[in-house]
Amino acid sequence: MKVENALEIVCQTHPGMVRSHNEDSVACEAAIGLVVLADGMGGYNAGEVASGITVSVLTTEVSQGLLQGSPTLHDQESGDENGVLLLRDNIQRANASIYHAAQSQSQYAGMGTTVVTGLFYDDRVVVAHVGDSRMYRLRGETMKLITQDHSLLREQVECGMLSAEEARLSKNKNLVTRAVGIDAKVEPEIGIYDVQIGDIYLFCSDGLNDMVEDEDIESTMYAMQGNLPLAVEQLIQMANDNGGRDNVSVILVKVKGGFAVPGQWLAKMLNWFKK
């Protein structure tokens, strides 16, 4: 099955109840199985600019890259898969253009963005993220957080300075330790996961997971798995009902069928001969 037909994707973003404008950007390219979500930050309108650059660089460049070669091909030099490289390289490309814009135009100084992006191919998903935007997976009745925030809070929990409970109550949730566009270089964290039919993947900005308990996100995704547009609306509504202090963006991806790349063994053979 083509990835386009194997996935159901719904994405939505909302400014929330407090902020007057939306610094989040989202994009879903169903044809190539790509979703991108970025939560921008920085003065006046710079946050939108940073998240917008990231989303448009990733969508256009990854589409282009996939036209040139299958995501399952391995790069000779690094040994990484093409799909992984496409996400990593293009996050770095977005980083460079935001960083340069911020350096050259004073109104953009200091702008940056988080990003979480997923590329679905060959019955897998490659997830790359920077900052505290997240991906969760619902499999069966259980939801699991797949990405680890690059945030001060998580680092404090990891080194034992805070308990999980203290972390939940902490005020400075939103201090991220990595962001796109802040420094000349950025290292995205990348993971590759096998997908199963029936899985639902949630990509969200912290406007969702700061306002809504994981347990409530889980029960909503489980109960509403048969109606993704309604599920997305419900998640955003819950964030807003709980105060909606931040922009909230939600992308849901449901795996309806297998999408393995056919003739994989042949490609691997050819690849092997090329070496």
Binding site: G42, T114, Y222, Q234, G243
Partner: protein, 260 residues
């Protein structure tokens, strides 16, 4: 996002000004950012300096002075809803950030630079994006002040516990099953979302919102009905003693007073 000043005269709003510059001047002369064409207003009357989410009002040696909330003042740290009086004109200060110096700064996502990056010293570790914007100006004072704010903030209170508290409202909502094999069973609707039916086949959900309880059809061929009327695709608000019917099972929704 940016704070603003709303200029009014005798209760009539004249214009809104976004405080999107670090320095906004107020006066009678036309080169001011906020021009108030009235003889009681000096040519250069006052200035509003905005740093991050905080704005400071300062009288620039005006002839007739200014008031904030009816009190004559020279310098003032503006708070949301402050009313600045200049002659008969009023300027109301509105700051969308819930509070300026408390949690609002930390509701925003900010970057904490790692020590590996080019940040100059460990003292500057709490380095917001916006402060980077201002780095090329002499800002030592502001920096120190910001660090002070950060310390004051560490008293932890939960955003979520407040949100949960408002959901209560003193009454417990209950769903009682009226027909079928489980007739008589009661279900307290304490969670924000209660599922009726089985995902993959026939599902409706009951959601608890600040305004009340709603039923929504999620999937399946049959739409639930409330008091004999079939639902549409929209969420439907439930009233006390509504009777819901889903897949042949009737149930009553009601509020139970008090909590034992």
């Amino acid at each position: 996002m940016a704070a603003k000043l709303i200029l009014s005269w005798n209760g009539t709003v004249i214009k809104e000004y976004l405080l999107n510059k670090e320095r906004m001047t107020i006066g009678r002369k036309s080169y001011n950012d906020i021009v108030i064409d009235n003889l009681a207003v000096s040519g250069e009357h006052a200035v509003v300096v905005t740093i991050m989410h905080d704005s400071f009002l300062e009288d620039t040696d005006s002839t007739n002075g200014l008031e904030v909330n009816g009190v004559p003042t020279k310098k003032h740290f503006l708070q949301n809803n402050d009313v600045i009086g200049i002659g008969k004109h009023k300027l109301k200060y509105i700051n969308d950030h819930i509070t300026q110096t408390t949690s609002a700064d930390f509701e925003k996502t900010m970057v904490l630079r790692g020590s590996a990056s080019s940040s100059p010293s460990s003292e500057g570790r709490v380095d917001t994006v916006k402060s980077t914007t201002m780095q090329n100006k002499p800002m030592t004072e502001e920096k120190a002040e910001k660090t002070g704010k950060f310390d004051a903030l560490s008293a932890a209170t939960s955003v979520k516990s407040a949100a949960v508290a408002q959901g209560g409202a003193g009454k417990t909502a209950v769903l009682q099953i009226l027909t079928g094999s489980t007739a008589g069973r009661e279900l307290e609707l304490v969670k924000s979302l209660t599922t009726l039916g089985k995902p993959g086949f026939q599902v409706a959900v009951l959601t608890r919102r600040p305004q009340g309880f709603y039923i929504t059809h999620v999937e399946g061929g049959q739409f639930p009905s409330v008091n004999g009327r079939a639902l549409s695709n929209q969420a439907h608000q439930l009233n006390d003693h509504d009777v819901i019917e889903l897949a042949g099972v009737k149930m009553e929704f009601y509020f139970r007073d008090g909590r034992g």
